[in-house]
Amino acid sequence: MSSGELKTGNNELFTSPDVDAARGFFKEKSRALESKLSTVEEVVRTMVNPGDYIAIGGFGANRIPNAIVHELVRQGKKNLGFAGHTSTHDFQVLVAGECFDHCDIAYIIGLEARGLSPAARRYMQSGKVRVTEWTNAALAWRLKAAAMGVSFLPARSMLGTDTFAFSAAKEILCPFTGQKYAGVPALFPDFAAIHVHESDVYGNCRVRGVTVSDQDLAKASKRVVITTERIVPSESIRAHPEDTFIPFWCVDAVIEVPYGCYPGNMPYEYYSDEQHLREWLQVEKDPEAYERFVKAEILDTKDFNEYLARNGGIEKMSKLRAIEMMTDTE
């Protein structure tokens, strides 16, 4: 193919990047400063519709809204689209429910230094999932485009590779310099869940440590649920407006979920439960044992608190907190 010809990625674009359509949605979205307190059960039941495209905040196992991820499995949500952006344990849990059947991929299957998830790998090799390739930055910029209210952004990655060929990006030229770019289309997820350190009842929230693309994700998504370690008075938000990470008008529901990132790492709160994460990776090797494990840990538990209790409860959380604070003596 000559270098003068503009190439186009061959795979499926799962969501529309049309900005006027998105504006139509955002026009109707409530901006009222009113309490949005809800429950995990209610949010997943009412805010996640069949065929919805969803995205999960945080990075891998760090600051993920795991109560929501579990509930998606518990309520048997299927046929979702998923943004496989810096996903690790969240991806692994969603695979346990086979919740999605189409997926934008930047990083999937792996749990970084911990190794790969056998169950996630089996699912992604099964042919059951329609996939489109991207990169971490490409998905970050797709969310940024949506957050900015434009239908595409130019990017200098992906060019020349199969990652581009199996994406849904399009090569474009800069109107000023002629520079070639990968144009990446805006990604407006239908539903996003983000776990934070502190939020008021309106959804003004604060995070510390890893932020990834969550500010853009909150802006880009049509419906956003915040799970928070702690609800805080709105006056404390007003005392430090510079610290507000996501403003209330992006948010549709707020739920207090202490230890809501377990078994992942919540920065400045508790470290990841590496033993339990190893248990996941281990049990997945045997599909039947894995099925029993998922049933016991998620499907047969009433809620996320029961999952926490099964795995050591407050005592375990205190230990993980000690690791995070580097006050553990073991």
Partner: protein, 257 residues
């Protein structure tokens, strides 16, 4: 001379390529160890960046995720993923490290899949993650990997991250930033660079205990050889001590060697 394993050698070699005052995006594992070793030896002000946003932390321990708390510990800045990627895209990041299941003679890397059906591969890997971005946007790409003829292959099943693509000027014709590309491939057997014109992989230095034949036999394509082929300098006792006692005291990485 001190004994050492292949992982220790690769980490020491990699660390020597990171000069003081440079910026490097690191992941977990060996690249992180190489950057920490560099900081504790000749490059105290090497600025480490993690793609999830942690900038220049004082790592209290080896991170298990590029986004975990440790990558922000006493950091100078907690940026975002777009921040870090855009800093790379702007040309402010000197080095990055990549790994993968396959690499070809132009330094292209596969970390996506083995097989021919994209949605139903024989073996699925994590995909690009940030690898394609870093390989596209940083000035110098380095790879640390063990060497065998399956991994060093004539043709990749999937080009996840760009090396020099089809060689010559093809990387830049594709739109990738001028002057960027694979810089060093560091294996258990050798240190490779790339020919300036053809952009083919070229052996610069042979590791202790290996021969030219070993290196070529464990490579699925024809290697070029430097006119000034050198012997890789083994780890010094200082490097090994710091690596073992300060960088990875639990042997998480060098234990695997």
């Amino acid at each position: 001379m001190a004994e050492y394993n292949a992982m220790e050698l690769m980490i020491c070699v990699a660390s020597r390529n990171l000069e003081d005052g440079a910026t490097v995006v690191v992941g977990t594992g060996a690249p992180c160890a190489a950057a920490m070793l560099a900081q504790k030896t000749r490059a105290p002000n090497l600025c480490t960046m993690f793609e999830a946003g942690g900038i220049a932390p004082r790592l209290p321990a080896m991170p298990i995720s590029v986004g975990d708390s440790r990558t922000f510990y006493k950091a100078l800045h907690a940026g975002s993923m777009p921040d870090v990627m855009e800093t790379c895209q702007r040309g402010m990041v000197d080095y990055c490290f990549l790994g993968g299941a396959q690499i070809d003679m132009y330094g292209n890397i596969n970390s996506t899949l083995i097989g021919s059906e994209h949605h139903k591969p024989k073996v699925r890997f994590p995909g690009s993650g940030g690898a394609n971005d870093l390989a596209s946007l940083c000035w110098r790409i380095m790879v640390m990997t063990s060497q065998d003829a399956k991994r060093f292959t004539e043709k990749l099943d999937f080009v996840t991250s760009p090396g020099y693509l089809d060689g010559g000027e093809s990387r830049y014709e594709a739109g990738l930033p001028a002057g960027t590309g694979p810089y060093r491939i560091i294996t258990n057997m050798a240190i490779m660079g790339f020919d300036e014109t053809s952009k083919r992989m070229k052996v610069l230095s042979v590791n202790p205990g290996y021969s030219r034949d070993d290196i070529q036999d464990n490579c699925g394509f024809d290697l070029l050889w430097s006119d000034k082929l050198a012997d890789t300098k083994p780890p010094s006792s200082d490097e090994l001590r710091i690596l073992r006692e300060e960088v990875d005291p639990n042997g998480y990485i060098i234990g695997r060697g």
